[in-house]
Symmetry: C2
Subunit: 136 residues, 2 copies
DNA sequence: ACCAGAGTGAGAATCGTTATCATGACTCCT
DNA sequence: AGGAGTCATGATAACGATTCTCACTCTGGT
């Protein structure tokens, strides 16, 4: 068994920064956000904390097209997917009712085991579209 | 209009290395593979070529969990997904008949536009499972 | 209050990837 | 064949994200 994590100022700060928004944020964004807010936390610690939270299933992680990791504290712990705004990171949690079974079936059909699936939707949310229009 | 790319030894070599296998390979793996085979090609060129091929839709790109890009020359050019072996990179092209419509619908329901989706399945193929058993 | 050990942070180190830039190869024109 | 102009190459530097190192600090149990 792995002993529970100690609660420190920094971990609390990171956790809280995640509570606040429902948007996916990169480690660096969170680091900056904390700095600006006054709770300066070392970048390394932000990374460590996020990793720990992710391992514990407390935050969801996904990758942008260029490989950067984004983190978000989701309302539910159960398996789900996301519809993410590619410009602001705002996300909606969604289910893929049919996807789950489909994935497992396709996997075994081809003799693959331990199937996992990555299903994420990317789009531009209404708000970001509005501000893009305004700019043009 | 963008003029066609010049066909050079190195581009041919990279393209051919991709033809050979149906496995997803990283740029670095391909670079090594070419070196070993005798067709030494600069790493930068491998990256450039892969990027060009990807832009042209001639190779598919996906990202591992840790953000590394993997490339593969697929049989079809039309939109499709993959079932990839997480240990050897072997891949099977699959369709997600229902997924497409579902993605678009979910997107518009939440007011998102320009919906794209990422759907990839990861598993362990029969061959890799066999060699894993042998090792244990 | 004390102490063992987990946690922290500044900076170095890694790793994948992209940018630079001098050099080389290819095309087209004559 | 002889250039001029262009695109491609490759060694290397630069980059950005992430991880590692290590001396120092704090937490949590006593």
């Amino acid at each position: 068994m792995n002993q529970p994590l100690r609660m420190t100022k920094q971990r609390a700060a990171v956790a809280e920064a995640l509570q606040v928004s429902d948007e996916f944020r990169s480690a660096q964004q969170l680091h900056e956000l904390l700095r600006d807010r006054g709770d300066a936390v070392g970048l390394a610690t932000v990374y460590r904390t996020l990793q720990a939270l992710a391992d514990g299933g407390d935050v969801d992680v996904l990758r942008t097209d260029d490989g950067e990791a984004l983190y978000r504290r989701c309302a539910r712990t159960e398996h789900h997917h996301h519809l993410v705004c590619r410009s602001c990171g705002r996300a909606v949690e969604i289910d893929g009712p049919t996807v789950e079974a489909w994935a497992a079936e396709v996997g075994s059909t081809h003799g693959f085991a331990d199937i996992e699936h990555t299903v994420e939707l990317w789009g531009t949310c209404a708000a970001c579209r509005a501000s893009a229009d305004r700019a043009s």
